[in-house]
């Protein structure tokens, strides 16, 4: 009955109570939304590359190798010679190996030389493969496949010509060997979106008439001649490896790391990704802190609302007292009311979150490659909601104690 009366009292003050609940709901939705984006970003990040057991490159740091080979951030300090590549490729543990050659660019995007195996082997977001949205994977040596962002930013479509620039911020273009856009990839939310993919041979071909990083004057090999040539790279930047049995991963990693002919480094992408996330992850703590403060603000707002309602409710409290309610019933009544408001706010906030997810999920995926899964609330989220209700009850103790003292002094007579 007391609960029913508390609810009745809340409904009677529907407008202020509704506003308070709305504030709590919005703050809870924000908090949970930030959590969702955070875990989604973390998962998307961890899913940047999957299905690859080892990444091999010249010896540097694990994070550095990951950054340049997968994220195309920074540069390789050194290359992996073609002999070492072939040597590793020939090892019995190796199921497949995909070479990656970086170093050139097109506009602001990196150009990556690789084999067509890359399209089969590179997996993201729990084993999803790259897919071509338009055109086809490169067939000719001067074919290029471009990521979704490249196509969108530069407005390219199939058969458009591309001139690759030497180096990354260079004014020297490999304009004697223009490429043709043969395919555009689907949006993945990975760095592949921002990459121009050509064949490994193409990388060699465009450097044919070059020496020591500059074009040899007057020398130009015609495209048809290049097509007849047997082009074998001297070195690649890195290689993605899949092993036959997962048990062999560590053995292969160790032997690559101890490779005598050349200082090499093999990394487990998952481990390196986590290492990298720890660096990026400081921002997430800040996000949580800010959204946590918003929840606290909403609860303090509720406390203020209860405080301001006390005066007009003294008569109501006096009636309770006259009917034999102890002052602590009054206290309990206010705490229950606050808990109900916080609970309704929390549940409404959860509803808002799902509504927001439904609306924003496709847009977030398309715009940022950030996949926010719609799934039942996790235990963590349930604890957050319960925490909001408990915190609501606790902050309401402050006005409730004031009401307790008021009802002790007022008794059954209100002297207003």
């Amino acid at each position: 009955m007391i609960l029913r009366l508390a609810l009745g009292s809340l409904i009677a003050r529907a407008l202020t109570v509704g506003m308070t609940i709305l504030a709590i709901a919005l703050s809870v939705a924000l908090f949970l939304g930030v959590e969702k984006v955070r875990t989604g970003a973390k998962a998307s990040f961890a899913d940047t590359i999957s299905g690859t057991d080892l990444i091999v490159g010249a010896r540097s740091g694990a994070v550095q190798l990951l950054l340049y080979s997968v994220f195309r951030i920074g540069n390789a300090t050194n290359n992996l010679t073609w002999e070492s590549y072939e040597d590793i490729a020939g090892r019995p543990e190796v199921d497949w190996i995909v070479p990656i050659s970086l170093g050139d660019s097109h506009r602001q995007f990196r150009v990556m030389g690789t084999t067509t195996a890359f399209f089969e082997r590179y997996k993201y977001r729990a084993g999803q493969s790259l897919a071509v949205q338009d055109g086809a994977v490169m067939d000719d040596i001067f074919d290029a496949v471009i990521g979704a962002d490249v196509a969108a930013t530069l407005g390219y479509s199939i058969d458009d010509p591309i001139v690759v620039a030497h180096g990354l911020a260079s004014f020297v273009a490999h304009d004697n060997q223009p490429f043709r856009v043969s395919g555009i990839l689907e949006k993945t939310g990975t760095p592949v979106d921002r990459t121009v993919i050509v064949s490994l041979e193409a990388i060699e071909a465009i450097h044919l008439d070059w020496s020591s990083g500059a074009a040899i004057p007057g020398q130009s090999t015609p495209a048809d001649v290049i097509r007849q040539m047997e082009l074998e790279p001297q070195a690649v930047t890195a290689a993605l490896i899949g092993v036959k049995s997962r048990l062999q991963v560590f053995g292969l990693q160790r032997s690559i790391n101890e490779y005598a002919q050349e200082p090499l480094l093999a990394i487990l992408p998952g481990v390196a990704l986590q290492e990298l996330w720890q660096i990026v992850g400081i921002a997430e703590t800040a996000l949580i802190a800010v959204s946590g403060m918003v929840v606290v603000t909403a609860l303090i707002g509720m406390m203020a609302t209860i405080f301001s309602s006390l005066n007009e409710r003294r008569r109501e409290m006096a009636i309770f007292r006259a009917m034999g309610a102890r002052p602590r019933v009054i206290l309990g009544l206010l705490v229950i009311e606050a808990a109900v408001m916080a609970a309704v706010g929390a549940v409404l906030g959860l509803g808002l979150l799902y509504l927001g997810l439904l609306v924003a999920q496709p847009a977030m995926d398309a715009a940022f490659g950030l996949w926010l899964p719609i799934e039942p609330p996790s235990w963590r989220e349930v604890w957050v909601l319960l925490g909001v209700v408990a915190a609501g009850a606790i902050v309401s103790m402050v006005p409730a104690l004031r009401a307790y003292r008021l009802s002790l002094s007022d008794g059954m007579m209100v002297k207003i």
Partner: protein
């Protein structure tokens, strides 16, 4: 009157509101017999409200004893006094008696929530509440209405039903009719009296309106109760 026949007895009671030296109450002796109806007449400021608070135990006397139904209420802890009030005293105020957002039924049943013994005397609270409403002349469908939607006169009847339910031995009414017009006043008092008599409750009504005296067994002036007049009752 001894405690067997008196439902309420105040003797040698002195009270001063904390921090207000000017105003105090001094009641040498004031008694109510079981089942009688008494009208206590006094102007506003004569200490009627303080007297009611003393009887109901929301304040306790500085000196002397207040005995309700044979129990010295000062001997009870604050929490027990609240329950004691719910068990033994039915209260009706001048106005704003009800929780406006609650149903009439919930309002009537509210004191039973805090008084298990009184609740135990009512076989079926809902039926009893409904019967009281009908006896007090409330429309049949009023019981489920929100109390705030009723007219002032109807609200006072609901307050009466709430005071009467479970037949508490003492019913205290503080100017219950002052918000009503003359015709409604008479009807209300007739109904209240009939019900109080039916449940055998003592009725103490406080008012400044001497015209009400025709209904009561006894009329007492507030000035006779307090020290200055040394009333003999």
């Amino acid at each position: 009157m001894d405690s067997d026949t008196s439902i309420l007895s105040l003797s040698g009671v002195r009270y001063h509101w904390p921090g207000r030296a000017s105003f105090g109450l001094d009641i040498p002796d004031f008694q109510l017999a079981r089942s009688e109806s008494v009208l206590l007449l006094g102007e506003s400021g004569s200490g009627k409200s303080t007297l009611l608070s003393l009887i109901c135990g929301t304040i306790t006397a500085d000196q002397g004893t207040v005995t309700v139904a044979g129990r010295d209420i000062a001997s009870l802890t604050a929490g027990k006094r609240d329950r004691f009030r719910a068990e033994h005293i039915g209260l009706i105020f001048q106005q704003f008696n009800l929780l406006p957002y609650a149903s009439v039924l919930d309002n009537i049943l509210l004191p039973l929530r805090f008084a298990p013994l009184r609740r135990g005397r009512v076989a079926s609270p809902r039926d009893t509440a409904r019967r009281l409403c009908l006896d007090l002349g409330l429309p049949e469908d009023a019981i489920l209405a929100q109390a705030g939607t009723l007219s002032v006169g109807q609200q006072q009847r609901v307050a009466a039903a709430r005071a009467l339910i479970g037949a508490p031995p003492l019913i205290v009414a503080d100017e219950p009719t002052s918000a009503l017009d003359a015709a409604t006043q008479a009807t209300f008092l007739d109904l209240l009296f009939a019900q109080a008599r039916a449940s055998g409750s003592t009725l103490l009504m406080v008012s400044h309106d001497a015209r009400l005296n025709v209904h009561f067994d006894r009329v007492v002036q507030m000035s006779d109760v307090t020290q200055s007049a040394k009333a003999t009752l």
